[in-house]
């Protein structure tokens, strides 16, 4: 309901402001509104990558400037009709942005900081190129003789109308992205990029996509602004005013809200105007810097976030259940009836899979298969390679060698999101929910991206609700993951893994840290997962559960397979006993 109202309000507001030139107000009002709209476009476009996905760009001035000079060159030197230069301005800016992103996003680890610095550097590199080539050449470019398209009664009003159209388009795009499947992926990247990739979000392409949209809109604003200022210099175009102001506006308004940056933009434009006027332009940048510093210290989440918090009734969370672990309270678990639904046909075949970390052989030549409908227990002492196995099969690590066949297709070496789509889901030993997304959206994300993948948010949420009921978390659907205790977070991990309807689930120590009662519940749940046809690889240290649940077990030791077979029989083998308990000297 509320969501649908937003775009109507934007369009309606746009139409209303369209009528302004008819009133024939002094040009000052149009110029002032033009500036407010200009900042709305810049701040909102910045936010589409930097706010949603959390990759802060300090180079918005570069992309804006690319638009300025693209438009200026085409309209001023090549005499294109001005309106035709705008799409090109957007394209040029987007191309430069994608080029920068393609390099920066490749590096793991400090991607965020690196991207920020690289974009900052790009600003001055572009300035150098423009100043040293015929694009500008040094003295600046005059656009006085470029005719302003007659959209309104005066030149100022025409420019105002162009920027108004850009602002309406930008706000609509920001809204559409915010509430789309694409946007959900960006927010997941913001919270936990690795987990997002494992849930099937094509993180690299998504970031580039968001960056391209962001840059294109900045380029568009730049193109229009070129005509507005009509005399362009590199010093005035490629400086830090644009990125600094844009970051400030978005932070102040709230980066997680589609309209946050716009609110910030209007507020700052008015503030700057009121404080500095035109005489003390020097102090403007200082004021922006000061407000930014204060904003980060005292209001890191922004104005819109504050409003949202106040508007939404806070659901009181029940106190987390104290984990009372008593080793003696043995869990009585009924043994699984063998051969109920297990077939001989393998769903996953792993051949000679190897992975080393600088000489440490974490996995060496592992060959095993998981059969359709079975629960395969994966055992071994700490450091024997169980988690590495899961990380390699799910695509988080690139294998050094070997093959992983899923349903007749070798998925070894594919990026994690492709593997998630192919039908392998995993859980994390220490749950990694997306902390700023509701429990429902956490699961919906997996439903939208992993496995077959649902196309719309609504379908994703419907599917997610089903799996929340399955894991008895439906009462917590609207809560943020901070409101869950460990046991519930582990179940959330399970729900996320199941929502994609995977062929195979890799469970990484789901029982660790649970109380005996909780363990009991979890075991029952895992059995229900298998009963609906999903194959499971079950990495676990809790031996009771392993014995009760698994059809077959594989034991790892020092990265290699030590034994394989029926649980009770394998655990009696001397080699397995030695690996677990050490050599007997008695």
């Amino acid at each position: 309901m509320k969501l649908r109202r937003a775009p109507v309000a934007v369009l309606g507001g746009g139409l209303l402001f369209c009528a302004l030139p008819v009133l024939r107000l002094p040009a000052f009002y149009e110029s002032f509104l033009y500036l407010a709209l200009y900042w709305i476009v810049l701040a909102t476009s910045w936010n589409i990558l930097s706010g949603y996905a959390g990759y802060f760009s300090f180079g918005h001035g570069a992309f804006f400037g690319a638009g300025v000079y693209a438009s200026a060159t085409l309209a001023g030197k090549l005499k294109w009709p001005f309106l035709w230069t705008l799409p090109v301005a957007a394209l040029v800016a987007a191309a430069i942005g994608v080029g920068v992103g393609a390099v920066a996003f490749r590096v793991r680890g400090v991607r965020g900081e690196l991207f920020a610095l690289l974009t900052l550097a790009v600003t001055f590199v572009l300035a150098t190129i423009v100043a040293n080539t015929p694009i500008d050449g040094g003295p600046g470019v005059y656009l006085n003789d470029v005719p302003v398209p007659a959209l309104g009664p005066t030149a100022t009003s025409s420019l105002y109308l162009m920027m108004l159209a850009a602002a309406v388009a930008t706000l609509l795009i920001s809204w559409v992205v915010r509430f789309s499947r694409f946007g959900a992926g960006l927010f997941a990247i913001h919270d936990d990029e690795d987990a997002a990739e494992v849930m099937g979000v094509p993180t690299y392409r998504w970031k580039l996509g968001a960056l391209a949209i962001s840059c294109a809109l900045a380029g568009l604003a730049g193109g229009i602004h070129a005509l507005f200022v009509s005399y362009i210099t590199t010093a005035e175009t490629f400086n830090l005013t644009v990125p600094l102001t844009v970051v400030l506006m978005s932070i102040l308004g709230g980066t997680r809200h589609w309209a946050g940056p716009a609110v910030g933009a209007v507020a700052i434009t008015v503030l700057l105007f009121a404080f500095t006027g035109s005489s003390n332009a020097v102090l403007g940048k200082g004021a922006v810097g000061l407000i930014l510093v204060i904003g980060i210290l005292f209001m890191p989440e922004g104005v819109m976030r504050k409003f949202q918090r106040r508007g939404r009734a806070v659901v009181p969370d029940p106190p987390p259940v104290e984990a009372t672990r008593t080793e003696s309270a043995a869990v009585k678990l009924a043994p699984v009836t063998p051969g109920v639904s297990v077939s001989e046909e393998p769903v996953l075949r792993v051949r000679a899979l190897s992975k080393s970390f600088r000489g440490l052989r974490a996995l060496s030549q592992v060959t095993l298969e998981v059969r359709k409908g079975e629960i395969l227990g994966l055992l071994g002492p700490n450091g024997s390679g169980k988690s590495t196995f899961i990380n390699t099969v799910s695509g988080h690590y690139l294998p050094d060698g070997g093959e992983v066949w899923l349903d007749g297709r070798n998925i070894a070496g594919l990026p994690a999101h492709r593997i998630a789509r192919a039908g392998i889901a995993r859980t994390y030993q220490i749950p990694r929910p997306f902390m700023q997304m509701s429990v429902l959206d956490n699961v919906a994300l997996a439903a939208m991206y992993a496995g077959q993948g649902l196309r719309s948010i609504e379908a994703g949420r419907d599917e997610a609700m089903r799996w929340l009921r399955f894991t008895h978390l439906d009462g917590k659907a609207g809560v943020l993951p901070t409101g869950l205790n460990l046991h519930q977070r582990k179940f959330l991990e399970l729900a996320r893994a199941l929502a994609s309807r995977p062929k195979l689930v890799l469970l990484d120590e789901v029982l660790s840290g649970l109380t005996p009662t909780e363990t009991h519940e979890a075991v029952a749940l895992i059995r229900r997962i298998r009963d609906q046809g999903t194959s499971i690889v079950f990495v676990e240290h809790v031996m009771d559960a392993v014995m009760a649940l698994t059809d077959r077990i594989v034991v790892f030791d020092q990265g290699a397979m030590l034994a394989e077979g029926a649980p009770a029989e394998v655990m009696k083998r001397p080699a397995v006993v030695t690996a677990y308990l050490g050599v007997s000297y008695a």
């Binding site: 959390g54 802060f56 300090f58 390099v103 920066a104 490749r106 590096v107 793991r108 680890g109 400090v110 965020g112 900081e113 690196l114 920020a116 610095l117 690289l118 900052l120 550097a121 790009v122 600003t123 001055f124 590199v125 150098t128 190129i129 100043a131 040293n132 010093a235 400086n239 830090l240 600094l244 970051v247 400030l248 932070i251 020097v282 102090l283 403007g284 940048k285 200082g286 004021a287 922006v288 810097g289 000061l290 407000i291 930014l292 510093v293 980060i296 210290l297 890191p300």
Partner: protein, 286 residues
């Protein structure tokens, strides 16, 4: 493109070494703070330029020797840096927020410098400026030579402190695993304040060197950002010797580019290097 003479080429390699020393000096502070405190300090550039202006002003109005201004500038910058770190620490800022904070600080500093000293470039007139040492056909300007000596001295000092003192080991341990280091009784608050202050003091030293060797204008500090970060990344985060070596490599490549093509293309060198580093050895960073 016409190839310059050997003397000119040697002279530009030499001037590249001098510029590189300055890159290394600036990069040392940034790299230590990035690698050991996990703070990317854009304010470092603002600190350096503030110091440069302070040095300029003190020489101009008090007629001090530029070297004497260090006595005032270095302690003051130490306090400033420690204060800024105290602020980020007090508000528990994430690395990204602290990056934003220092970005805002940079804007404030530019505005302040422009207010006091205008946007026009200023050139320090000191007794060192005219002196040159002749080495065969080559000239060694004294201010640049002093910068090189300073850079080598603080780099070696940083190396010794990080490698061979308890403080250095404590700092490296904290960067590696802060909770474990804390449980071994390392006073991280004090150490990190000390390190942040020292980094800012290094910025102060670099600022005085900038004032001695170049003309300064407020917006120029941004021109240093790209090249110094390229230096830090090439040299390695938290490394003591790395930035100076990397700085000299970049400085020389820039100088040769300038000699062979035109001076205005120099900023592209470091950027290209930066891209190549990122593509070739992403593992080195972080």
């Amino acid at each position: 493109m016409n190839l310059p003479s050997w003397t000119l080429l040697a002279q530009s390699v030499l001037s590249g070494v001098f510029t590189g020393a300055l890159y290394g000096l600036l990069g040392l502070g940034i790299g230590l703070s990035w690698g050991l405190l996990r703070t990317i300090n854009l304010a470092h550039f603002a600190f350096a330029f503030l110091s440069a202006y302070l040095c300029y002003q003190m020489v101009l109005s008090l007629h001090l020797d530029p070297m004497l201004t260090l006595l005032f500038i270095v302690p003051m910058l130490f306090l400033l840096g420690a204060g800024l770190h105290w602020l980020t620490d007090r508000f528990r800022l994430t690395p990204l927020s602290s990056l934003l904070l220092t970005f805002g600080f940079m804007g404030m500093a530019e505005s302040a410098m422009q207010w006091f000293w205008t946007a026009d470039p200023r050139q320090l007139a000191s007794s060192y400026g005219d002196q040159k040492v002749r080495l065969g056909p080559l000239f060694l300007p004294i201010p640049e030579l002093m910068t090189l000596v300073f850079a080598i001295a603080v780099t070696l000092a940083a190396y010794v402190v990080l490698r061979h003192t308890d403080l250095g080991k404590a700092l490296r341990a904290s960067a590696e695993d802060s909770p474990v280091a804390a449980s071994f009784g390392i006073n991280q608050r004090r150490n990190s304040l000390l390190l942040a202050g020292t980094c800012a003091a290094l910025a102060g030293l670099a600022g005085v060197c900038i004032a001695l060797t170049a003309s300064i204008s407020p917006s120029q500090m941004y021109a240093w950002v790209g090249v110094v970060f390229a230096t830090v990344m090439l040299g390695g985060l938290g490394s003591a010797l790395g930035p100076l070596v990397a700085g000299v490599v970049i400085g020389v490549s820039e100088a040769v580019t300038m000699a062979v093509t035109s001076p205005s293309w120099a900023p592209l060198v470091s950027f290209t290097l930066l891209i190549v580093i990122l593509l070739a050895r992403p593992g080195r960073i972080g």
